[in-house]
């Protein structure tokens, strides 16, 4: 590994647990502890815990924090009451995605942004630039807490009971609840752990019920160990980035650098739901409004392989009617469905659900079908 890789405060815990470590976005992270399939199914059926300490945390505070975020992010933060979060995107002037993120309202004038690990530096530079150009910049402060903050995602149908044991007292801030399992989707609250305050949000990246726990860097190992100690009745296993990727691919959540980049817009990525064109001006709005009105040149589709084939992978060509029309951006063997699945960009005429496509794999083309997103959903 050429450059010095960054390590999270859980690095020693991963080594003890036998995690296989790989480079991811400049970080040395566990890709798996047992196998990707095993960890994936454990999250679908029980509970898994992921180290997401590499992700970034930025606090935006002050009387003009709401106005600044609404001028900088695509979703409408005015919809957020204290203790609620939303998925949103940050775009450049051309509508290209700087990052996709979660924005939580922690207080009347305080917001927490959870940003991608590989985007911390460009995001903070961009936010500072936008803040410098913001008329009420004196009424907003920005603090990048990424180096001092750690986080774990606890995901799966069995997690609510585990969280109630992990944080057994009522919340002390955010959404007022008696216990974590009372949080609703996208709500966030503070709880006390070993005398310190931690944030717990009911959200995740797996398509299952679940929580993300954000703590001071020095506290995460105690939370991680306690969760694993309490976790046996809930079938809790430590899970790596491999399963995190297959889980999110099955439910078609975007991963920055794959579905999203600075040359791709949220409209092209099928994320128009998170672009509030009616809220007033924001960076990238004019391009996004134009695309919404007149259409795009490319569109993100989800697909399933229909015949036996190697798994699709990023950068494989997508063919329709004998012509290469696009490229796979995410692809894997689905552990839940046991077939090859993926997402890719194609021109809108080729993007219809039910449409037949082919994926080129090492010079051969294999049949696939465009399917509705998500590719996998929980059994009713």
């Amino acid at each position: 590994m050429p450059q010095t890789l960054r390590r999270t405060p859980l690095f020693a815990a991963h080594q003890r647990a036998g995690g296989k470590l790989i480079e991811f976005g400049g970080w040395e992270m566990p890709v798996q502890y047992s196998t990707i399939t095993d960890e994936h199914l454990c999250v679908r059926r029980g509970a898994g815990i992921f180290d997401i300490s590499h992700m970034g945390e930025v606090i935006i505070r002050g009387p003009a924090a709401e106005a600044f975020l609404n001028a900088t992010l695509t979703n409408d933060v005015r919809k957020l009451v204290v203790g609620l979060g939303q998925y949103t995107l940050m775009c450049n002037e051309r509508g290209g995605v700087i990052d996709d993120l979660y924005a939580y309202r922690l207080g009347a004038r305080e917001y927490l942004l959870i940003i991608n690990a590989s985007r911390i530096e460009p995001d903070v530079v961009w936010l500072q630039e936008r803040l410098g150009a913001f008329p009420r910049h004196a009424d907003v402060t920005l603090a990048n807490l990424s180096d001092h903050t750690a986080a774990a995602a606890i995901q799966g149908p069995k997690t609510p009971g585990l969280l109630d044991q992990l944080f057994p007292a009522a919340s002390t801030g955010g959404t007022p609840v008696a216990k974590p399992s009372e949080l609703k989707k996208n709500q966030i609250a503070q709880f006390t752990f070993n005398g310190q305050s931690v944030c717990v949000a009911r959200t995740g990246y797996s398509g299952e019920d679940g929580f993300e726990v954000i703590t001071p860097a020095t506290l995460i190992e105690a939370v991680w160990d306690r969760a694993l100690n309490l976790g046996h009745p809930f079938c809790l296993q430590p899970c790596g980035l491999g399963a995190r990727d297959t889980l999110r691919t099955e439910v078609c959540y975007p991963l920055y650098g794959h579905e999203l980049d600075e040359h791709t817009t949220p409209i092209e990525a099928g994320l128009g739901f998170f672009v509030a064109l009616d809220k007033g001006d924001f960076t990238g709005r004019s391009m996004l409004a134009e695309q919404k009105a007149t259409g795009t040149k490319k569109k993100l589709v989800a697909f399933k392989m229909t015949d036996k084939s190697p798994p699709p992978r990023p950068h494989y060509a997508i063919w329709t009617d004998g012509t290469a029309v696009g490229e796979v951006v995410s692809g894997t063997q689905s552990p839940s469905l046991n077939i090859g699945i993926g997402m890719g960009y194609v021109p809108p005429p080729s993007a219809k659900v039910g449409g037949r496509i082919e994926i080129e794999i090492r010079g051969r083309r294999f049949a696939a079908e465009i399917v509705k997103k998500p590719i996998y959903s929980r059994a009713a």
Partner: protein, 129 residues
């Protein structure tokens, strides 16, 4: 977890094993390799009749995470491939030295076999890594 390295096989540095029987040899990937790859979900095998040169990429193993090339440990013509891997690629994980074999070669140059590692040397290689 203990890794199996049978004493009666020869090994390539790139983690293939070779079992010689007269002028023929069976090729697969080692227990260490399958453990590193995990979750084998697809195996692409060379065509019967193809002539392979020692060191040539000739098969692909797909795990959930990634695709990995497999190399011919010695030169020879492919005389048989393991069709069972088409329907059950996980045999590579469960029985790497038996039902999870990849293909059989008619050796082009039996002297090449002696250039491969023996079990002790291979074990030393994977222990050192």
């Amino acid at each position: 977890m203990s890794t199996q390295v049978p004493a009666d096989l020869r090994y390539a540095k790139s983690h293939e094993w070779l079992r010689v029987a007269g002028e023929f040899a069976t090729v697969g990937i080692t227990d260490h390799a399958q453990h590193e790859l995990t979750d084998v979900v697809f195996v692409e095998l060379p065509g019967v009749g193809r002539s392979l040169k020692s060191g040539e990429a000739c098969a692909v193993v797909e795990s959930v995470k990634t695709a990995s090339d497999i190399y011919a440990p010695v030169s020879g013509d492919v005389v048989e491939v393991n069709k069972a891997l088409e329907s059950n690629p996980a045999l590579v994980n469960t029985e790497p030295y038996a039902a999870g074999w990849f293909f059989k070669l008619k050796l082009a140059n039996p002297a090449e076999v002696s250039t491969l590692l023996n079990a002790d040397s291979y074990l030393a290689q994977i222990s050192g890594s």
